[in-house]
């Protein structure tokens, strides 16, 4: 019985060498093989779906063929046009090399700047600090159980605000922060370029003696780590008296 050639139908296409760049859109189809024959480029092993796809059809000046056995038929044509030439086939990636843009050594890009900014984060971390108003802190702390204060450290920011560190934080309203390296950023946010924060830290906090509180408006202020003290009722009382 004769072999049913429709079983191993396979498609190929040809294109002028000058149009090589147009093949970029199908270069990533890794089932394809490419070969060069004088002024022509041949590509074989396309599937029916691939040969019919818009991607292929939109490449200008290509000729599509159907390969039946050794014969080459124009796509959807009835009369063979010839044989598939015997060529040296190689995978697409190897046949079509990518030319990387050359690095311009004379270009220093001094104008380019990256803005360090905050973006909403999807990762959830434990809040480790909060900024509270002195008034609300005072109200809580003067009646606070010792056990809640034990794990808390604090520093005074200004006359009206203080920052608390530790876990669990106190049950008073305030703005909550979490910590990345030496940065305190509002809970729910992260840096757009997280990989750069070590560099930024080195720049604004060279000996790492500060904590940097970074706000949503991309302003920051520093808190000297030495200023952070254990929170107790007496430390609070003595601080507001002075």
């Amino acid at each position: 019985m004769a072999k049913d050639v429709t079983n191993d139908l396979n498609y190929c296409l040809s294109l002028a060498r000058t149009q090589e760049a147009d093949l970029a859109t199908i270069r990533h189809w890794n089932n394809l093989k490419i070969a060069f024959d004088g002024d022509l480029i041949w590509i074989k092993d396309l599937t029916l779906i691939q040969i019919n796809s818009v991607t292929v059809k939109s490449i200008p000046f290509i000729k599509r063929y159907e390969v039946r056995g050794p014969k080459l038929f124009p796509f959807q044509g009835r009369l063979p046009e010839g044989n598939l030439p015997a060529l040296l086939w190689s995978p697409m990636e190897r046949g079509l090399s990518i030319e990387l843009p050359k690095f311009n050594f004379n270009y220093f890009g001094t104008e380019e700047k990256i803005k360090i900014e905050l973006i909403p984060s999807e990762k959830v971390k434990n809040a480790s600090a909060m900024i509270v108003s002195m008034k609300e802190l005072e109200e809580y702390i003067l009646a606070a159980p010792e056990i809640r204060l034990q794990n808390i450290q604090w520093a005074i920011i200004d006359q009206t605000q203080a920052i608390l560190f530790g876990q669990p934080l106190l049950p008073i309203p305030g703005k909550v922060f979490w910590q990345i390296e030496d940065f305190l950023i509002p809970a729910g946010y992260t840096f757009r370029h997280e990989g750069l924060i070590k560099k930024v830290n080195k720049k604004i906090n060279p000996v790492s003696n500060n904590l940097i509180t970074w706000e949503e408006d991309n302003q920051y202020f520093k808190i000297n780590k030495i200023a952070i003290q254990a929170l107790s009722i007496s430390s609070f009382r003595m601080s507001i008296l002075h």
Partner: protein, 207 residues
């Protein structure tokens, strides 16, 4: 003149050690006055850490407590008296118990549970133990870490003073005294103190 009484109290307060300078059971008024002044300073330092409004220092109560702990320590080391004489040496507190008195006597009486433990190591049957435990029952804020029968304790004064109530709860939490934490006078305050962080702070089971 050497004020051995004051030296003993200072040593106890600063180093948490008892040091006696001989078997001296008599205490002069002058010595007591100096101890009172010392304890007042200590109290005022501590009161900075008290929640709410700390009550005023109660001289007489503090001095009575200092005498009690001093004499109990004397009796621990040098026992020359008969058992029947003990109530004459360790005098009962005769004034009214107030929040101020409770906090003032605590400066010295907080060392009483440790002292009772020492006495028990020497002689379980010592009648001094009974006398001291009776004192602790009245001043149970100082005996949170001492095994006591909660039913016998009077919480009326403690419940009605927010400062003392909070300090009492702090001490119960610190010593992880399950039984006292479940006492009806304290349970609500303790629950409020631990709040949502019960598992993290003290995984206590409430009755």
């Amino acid at each position: 003149m050497n004020n051995y009484f004051l030296k003993m109290i200072q040593q106890l307060w600063e180093k948490e050690e008892i040091m006696l300078y001989g078997n001296i059971m008599s205490i002069t008024d002058e010595e007591i006055g100096a101890v009172g002044a010392f304890l007042k300073k200590a109290y005022n330092r501590e009161a900075l850490d008290y929640p709410h409004q700390a009550p005023e220092f109660d001289y007489q109560a503090a001095q009575w407590a200092a005498k009690t702990i001093y004499l109990a320590a004397q009796l621990l080391l040098y026992r020359e008296n008969k058992e029947t004489d003990l109530p004459k040496i360790i005098l009962a507190y005769e004034r009214k118990i107030t929040p101020a008195a409770i906090l003032s006597v605590d400066l010295c009486l907080r060392f009483l549970p440790a002292l009772i433990k020492e006495l028990k190591l020497i002689d379980q049957e010592d009648s001094l133990i009974e006398i001291l435990e009776e004192i602790l029952k009245d001043w149970h804020y100082s005996g949170v870490n001492h095994p006591m029968n909660e039913e016998d304790l009077n919480f009326e004064i403690i419940e009605n003073d927010p400062c003392l109530l909070q300090l009492y709860c702090d001490r119960v939490i610190k010593n992880k005294n399950q039984k006292l934490a479940n006492h009806k006078a304290l349970i609500n305050q303790i629950k409020a103190n631990l709040g949502n962080h019960k598992n993290q702070l003290w995984n206590i089971s409430f009755n």
